[in-house]
Symmetry: C2
Subunit: 224 residues, 2 copies
Amino acid sequence: MSRDPRGKRPSYTVDVVAVTPRDGTLAVLLERRGGSRDGWGLPYDVPLPGEPLERTATRVITRAAGAAPAWMGQIAAYDGLTSHPGASALSIGYVGLLPVGGGAPGPGGEWVALAGLPGLPERHGRILDDGIATLRDRLDLAPVAFRLLPASFTLSELQQIYELLLGRRLHKASFRRALQAAWLVEPTDEWRSEGRGRPAQLYRYAPKKRRRGRRGVRFDLLGS
Amino acid sequence: MSRDPRGKRPSYTVDVVAVTPRDGTLAVLLERRGGSRDGWGLPYDVPLPGEPLERTATRVITRAAGAAPAWMGQIAAYDGLTSHPGASALSIGYVGLLPVGGGAPGPGGEWVALAGLPGLPERHGRILDDGIATLRDRLDLAPVAFRLLPASFTLSELQQIYELLLGRRLHKASFRRALQAAWLVEPTDEWRSEGRGRPAQLYRYAPKKRRRGRRGVRFDLLGS
DNA sequence: TCAATAGTGTCTGTTAGACATTATGGA
DNA sequence: TCCATAATGTCTAACAGACACTATTGA
C-alpha cells in the first residue's frame, strides 16, 4: 500500500486474492486496515514505474503471503463500486494460489477461511467472489494440484485438494478411475498410517507421456 | 479514437472485439488506421470523464458497428506488448456479439472473416484471440443464440449459430435431442423451402418454465 | 470386537455419436 | 429420375455414480 512518492493519484491499483488450502478448507489472505475503523481488505498496491501488471501482482502476493504463488491468473478490471480503501479509480484483480498452509503472512495479514469472511469494501467483495470463480474455471487442475502438495501424498489428500479447488465433493471410485486413466501419478512403496483406519499408500506425481489417443482427465464427478 | 481534449496521456483505453455471424463464418470488426502505413486495428477509445468501463465499451462497439451488442463481456486488462496504435499504456479489452449481419460499420470500419485476418498491432492481436476464447467459454449460449436470429428460424440455422459460436461442428441428431430436452424452442406451423432439399419447419424461441428436476442444456456434442 | 478409513469390483442409467431410414422438395 | 436436405429411430461404447465388499489399522 505504498503511495506514489509524488503524492499523485495512482492511475490504477493491482488488487490480489491469495488463496490456499488450509485446515480442510480454502482460506483467503486479508489485511487489516489500520486507522479508526477496524476494516479488512484485499492486499493491493500501485505498480512501480514501468512494472508490468503480472509482476506487480506477483510482488503483492509474495509480500502479503510470504511465499510465491504456485499459480496466478488475472481476474478482470474493476471500476465504480466506489468503496475502495485506496480510493483507486481502477483495480486490476489477480488471483494467486499458494501451497498448502500458505506461508507466513506479512504485517497485518491473516488467512481467513472462505466460510467465515468478514465484510469487505464493496469492490473487494466483488473481486474476491470473481477471484474464486476464476480460480475454479481457469485453473488447469492437473498440473497445479500437485504443486500444492509435498512430493509424496495419499490419494485421499489429493482428492481433498481437488475438492477444495473445485468447491464440491467428488466420488472416490470415479476419482481414482479418472486419475488412473490420466497417467498422472504412480504409487511408491511407502504407506502412511493416519490415526484410525487402514494406512494409505503414498503416491508421487509422475505424468506419463500421453498415450496415442488417450483422453484427458475429466473430473465431472459428483456426489458422495 | 477521440483524443483527450487537453492532450493529456489517457490513463487507459477500452479496446473492443466486435463479432458477428456473417456469410457462414464469424467476422470481426476492424478499423483501418489512416496515416502513412495502411494498418488495421481494433476499435478503441478513451473513457469520457466519469464514464464506467462497461458504458465506454458499449459506446465504442455501437459507434463502430452501427448497432448495439446482443451480448458483451470483459476480456482482461493488457499492458506491455508495446505496439498499440494509440500508445495507451493499459488496455481493457471487451468482446461484443452482434446479431446476424452485424449492422453498418462506421467510417473506416469493416467486417473481416476470422479466417482471413490481416496482421494487427501486437496487443490487438492478443486481445482478439483472447476475445474469441472469452466469447466461447463465457457466453451462455442458450439465451443469446436466439437474439442473433430473427423471430422464427429453422433448426439448421440455429445449429449453425451454435457451431460458429462454439467453433466446432455439432452432431445433428444429438443437437436436436439436447434442444428438445431443454425446452427452449417450439415449432410453428410454417415451413421454408431453401433451394434443393426438403423444406425445413420454422421454430420460435419459447423457453418453458424449467421442469422439476430438469437438467440444463449440455452441448458437449462433437463430430460430423 | 468395533469403528474408521483405504482400496476395488460390479452394476446401472444416461448420453454422445454413428448409422440407417424415411420424407419431401427442386432440378 | 436423381439429388439434396430435413427429420427421426435405433444401436453402441463410454462413463459417472451407486453400492457392496474386502483389507488393515487403532481403540
